[in-house]
Amino acid sequence: MDLATLAALNAERAARRAAVLVTPLAGGPVRLVRGGDDLAGDPLGPAIGEAFRSGRSATIATEAGEMFLTASLPPPRLVLIGAVHISQALAPIAAIAGFDTVVVDPRTAFATPERFAGVTLHAEWPEDVLPGLGLDPYTALAALTHDPKIDDFALTHALERGCFYVGALGSRKTHARRLERLTASPEALSRIEAPIGLDIGAVSPAEIAVSVIASVIAALRRRPA
C-alpha cells in the first residue's frame, strides 16, 4: 500500500467514517472505497457492500486474483441519557459487548463517579454536551430519564444525526404524548423504539438493560448497507 492510501484510510478512521480497503494479495495498487461511494458497476460491489454492512474483513477470490477486503468501521458507541438504575446495569453490559459508552445526565445527584465507575460521564444538559460528542450513524442513543426536559432534545438530535438506533423509555401512552411534543418528520419519529428494548418481558433495571442492548445490537447488525 502506498503512503497516500494509508494516510487517506487513517483520515477516514480519525473522522469516524467507514471505509473498505481492497488489496490484491499478489501485489498491485491498493484501492480505498469510502462509505457512500457509488458501488454500482463495481465488479466487487456486492462484496464491498457486505464488508461495509458487516464490518468484517475477508479474503475473496476474483477474476483478477485473490483480494483482501479490509473493513474499517468506526467502533460503535452508545449514548445513555439518564444516570439511572438501568444505565448502571447497561453501561458495563454495553462495554462487554464492545460499545464505547457515554452517560449524560444534568442531575448531579445521579451522575456521580461512584455510581458509574469507569464510565465516561457528563453531568450536563444534553443540549450542551451532545453537539460536541459528534453523534453519527455508528452511534446509538437510549433516552432513559422519563423527563421530557432531559430526553426530548437528545431524541431529536439523535434522529437528526442519523444514529443507527434511537430508543426511549416509557409506555405507549407516554410515547404518544412525546410524539406530540417532538418536532421531526413522521418518518424520523417512527425510528424511535418505544417502549424501549427487545420484548423479553424484562422487569428489573438489569433485565431492561439486557433488552436494550439486544435491540441496539440487532439495529447495528441488521442496518441497511
Partner: protein, 117 residues
C-alpha cells in the same frame, strides 16, 4: 470455517493504533511493512484483519497471533521491505495433538505482508 474480523481490529488491546503508527513511521522515512491476518481456520488467536507493523530495523507493534509467529513474520518483513514484493505466509500446526493439549496457536492462519511504499 473461516473466522471473521472484529469491527475495529486496527486498535489491539495494547491500545496502539497500528495503522496510524505505520503512517508515522513511514513519514519518518523508515522502511515499513504491514502484516495483516487475511484468513484463519480453527482456534486462531487473532481475528482476520489484525495488523502487525514492522520497520527495517525489526521494530514492530501490534499482533497477528498473540506472539506465536510474530518472529517469523518480522523476519519475512525485512525481505519484503528490501525487495518491495508482497508475500502471503501460512502458519499452522503440523502435529494433530496440538489441538488436544490446547496450544493457543492451534489452528492455521494466513498472513499478508506488504510494504508501505
Amino acid at each position: 470455517m473461516t473466522e471473521t474480523g472484529t469491527v475495529n481490529s486496527a486498535v489491539p488491546a495494547s491500545g496502539v493504533d497500528v495503522l496510524a503508527l505505520a503512517e508515522s513511521w513511514r513519514r519518518e522515512g523508515r522502511g515499513v511493512a504491514l502484516a495483516t491476518v487475511i484468513e484463519t481456520w480453527g482456534s486462531a488467536p487473532r481475528p482476520v484483519g489484525s495488523h502487525l507493523v514492522i520497520d527495517a530495523d525489526g521494530n514492530f507493534e501490534g499482533s497477528v497471533s498473540g506472539g506465536c509467529v510474530e518472529g517469523a513474520v518480522v523476519a519475512e518483513a525485512a525481505e519484503v521491505i528490501a525487495d518491495g514484493a508482497p508475500r502471503v505466509l501460512e502458519f499452522g500446526v503440523a502435529d494433530e495433538t496440538a489441538w488436544r493439549v490446547g496450544l493457543s496457536c492451534g489452528g492455521r492462519i494466513r498472513v499478508h505482508v506488504a510494504p508501505v511504499a
